[in-house]
């Protein structure tokens, strides 16, 4: 419509044609860019939904090295639940997960509280505490494997210094090896916990600090009784994030212990990869992946639901 109206006032035909062409080009570009944007967005949705369903589907088929879409029901799930490696992996995950989350949370909180004491060189210290987060788990695992290796690490050092019977061989000890993974993971993640806790403490109202001080409480009691409870939502959020990190841990184990000795440090994520690419069983590997996802959802969904209810309440009252 507008094109026709405009053209009526256009005296010079050449200019008119150019103007029409320009407008047409602009409109085409507009349509093109918009459709392209929608296409890209649609591809993300197809990727996330499609790949999830695809893996679920493969988990109920016979697929080995190549996909084979014959339905076999929940065979892989049943076998996996009975497989020793899967059970051991979950026991390992339980030990590793609880120790990692507890220690990272405690170390992170201690560091955050100490840094909150109006100290000098705060930036330098924070940079030092957080830098492991910039490294790949492969590098963390490789270097900690040297330090913890009895024949070239701490144990060797102690022995060359004259402490001949010194023993620190967790890395090759079936019962203790899982704690070497804990050490490396806590080393990597504590700074992250610290940063979030510190941000929480700093966001608290100054009046809260003053009120706590007027109350005559000592510094440590002030934190335990008043300030840490005040950032409780952040503490819970950090613990949930760490739980996710624990469930997804894969590279660190591979670089640090390769799952050994035996399967003493194998975690569910390692089992998934093992089935898929070492034993050549896509079906079983996918079933393991789906169970890993289910474990994650069991943790996350209740948390997400509570968050949603809370934010809705806040809107209602606000």
């Amino acid at each position: 419509m507008s094109l026709l109206q405009d053209s009526g006032f256009d005296a010079v035909p050449g200019h008119r044609r150019a103007a029409v062409r320009r407008r047409w080009m602009a409109r085409a570009l507009e349509q093109l860019s918009k459709s392209f944007a929608y296409l890209v967005l649609a591809s993300v949705v197809i990727y996330v939904v499609g790949f999830t369903l695809w893996t679920m589907w493969i988990s109920v088929t016979e697929s080995t090295l190549l996909p084979n879409y014959g339905y076999v029901g929940f065979k892989h799930y049943q076998r996996l639940l009975q497989a020793r490696v899967w059970q051991v992996a979950y026991v390992n995950l339980a030990i590793y997960g609880t120790s990692f989350i507890a220690l990272t949370g405690v170390v992170g909180m201690i560091l955050a509280i100490l840094i909150d004491q109006k100290i000098r060189a705060e930036n330098v210290l924070r940079t030092i505490y957080l830098y492991p987060m910039a490294l790949s788990f492969v590098i963390t695992g490789t270097v900690w494997a040297w330090i913890l290796n009895p024949s070239i690490g701490v144990q060797h050092l102690a022995r060359t210094l004259g402490w001949v019977n010194f023993r620190f061989d967790w890395l090759i000890d079936r019962d203790m090896a899982i704690y070497t993974v804990v050490i490396a993971a806590v080393w990597q993640a504590s700074g992250f916990a610290m940063a979030l806790f510190l941000a929480g403490l700093r966001s608290l109202d100054n009046d809260l600090y003053k009120a706590a001080q007027i109350d005559g409480a000592s510094a440590s009691r002030m934190y335990v009784r008043i300030l840490v409870p005040a950032i409780w939502p952040i503490v819970i959020a950090v613990l949930i994030i760490l739980l996710q990190v624990a469930l997804k841990t894969y590279d660190l184990v591979r670089a640090l212990t390769a799952g050994g000795p035996g399967i003493a440090t194998t975690l569910p994520a390692n089992v998934v990869y093992d089935y898929m690419f070492q034993r050549g069983s896509m079906g079983a590997g996918s079933a393991a992946a789906v169970m890993l996802l289910a474990s994650l959802l069991i943790v996350i969904l209740p948390y997400a639901a509570i968050q949603k209810i809370r934010s809705r309440k806040r809107v209602d009252h606000g």
Binding site: L41, V45, T55, L114, Y131, L135, Q244, V272
Partner: protein
């Protein structure tokens, strides 16, 4: 009274700093170990452990790690793998960031029916473990014959990265005042013009966060890298694993230390110079 108080205060400050420094030492030890060992000879390391001070500086470790050390059968050092990582990270970061900005713009400022649902799917994609996508990727890459090269990995990181970049940008653009966009629409500005003239100029902070996040994550990524690349096409994290899995020869800890440092250097530098943005990304991408 005053003196005892200040003595107690000084004592507490001393303990406080002692604890802070002790923790700093704990975090720095692994870094110190690789830095120091990169200058030590293998004999020295095996004699006195990886926790020692060099008696004589050995610079040659660095040259060998970079250019001539043998891993997985080829004696090229870490150099070609570093370049592989660069060739992977640069395009994947740029493309995924651009697409993410566009997606975020669509989801926040051009809301349509179902845009909230799509945002939910994107968030789920951020949180979905990589293991859920490995088999479909394996099949897809095989169909496209991209299984063992860098292009397959670039495709993976663009698509996978888009979940993060979309999330970041959407959450940032949500705070752009709707009136600004409305006024622009009334003035006759269209989809592309609003994006280029209004949204992008507002975006540098979030784009920096996104680029740093993508760069660090893709550089450090291991699972896809080890699964979908082989031999001379491996990115550096995957090649490092070949280093340590190499049991045919004695472990050259000095050279390996230099190699580990070289591989860690890009992300460490990004962290040192963009720390604030790095931390913001960590907080925003924490659902990972």
């Amino acid at each position: 009274m005053d003196r005892t108080l200040s003595a107690g205060y000084l004592g507490r400050r001393f303990v406080l700093y002692a604890v802070l420094v002790a923790f700093a030492a704990f975090f720095l030890i692994p870094l110190a170990v690789v830095v120091i060992n990169s200058f030590r000879t293998l004999e020295e390391i095996t004699q006195t452990s990886v926790l020692g001070i060099p008696r004589a500086m050995r610079w040659d470790n660095w040259a060998q790690a970079w250019g001539s050390y043998c891993l997985a059968g080829s004696c090229t050092g870490i150099r070609p793998y570093m370049w592989n990582s660069v060739a992977l990270v640069v395009p994947a970061t740029i493309i995924s960031t651009l697409f993410g900005a566009m997606n975020g713009y669509l989801l926040s400022l051009w809301r349509f029916k179902g845009s909230n649902f799509i945002f939910g799917v994107v968030t789920f994609g951020v949180f979905l473990p990589a293991q859920m996508k490995l088999v479909p990727w394996a099949i897809t890459l095989r169909e496209l014959s991209l299984s063992n090269g860098l292009s397959g990995l670039i495709l993976i990181h663009v698509v996978q990265g888009m979940c993060f970049t979309t999330l970041f940008c959407r959450n940032y653009y949500v705070n752009v005042p709707a009136d600004l966009i409305k006024a622009a629409k009334v003035d006759g500005a269209d989809f592309l013009q609003i994006f280029c003239r209004i949204v992008l100029p507002l975006s540098p902070p979030i784009l920096i966060v996104t680029v740093i996040w993508q760069f660090t994550n893709i550089w450090n990524e291991f699972l896809y890298a080890i699964t979908f690349s082989e031999g001379s096409h491996r990115p550096v994290t995957a090649a490092l694993m070949a280093f340590s899995a190499n049991i045919a020869q004695a472990r050259e800890y000095g050279i390996e230390s230099a190699a580990v440092l070289l591989a860690a250097l890009p992300t460490l530098l990004v962290y040192l110079f963009g720390g604030k943005y790095f931390l913001r990304g960590l907080t925003a991408g924490a659902v990972k």
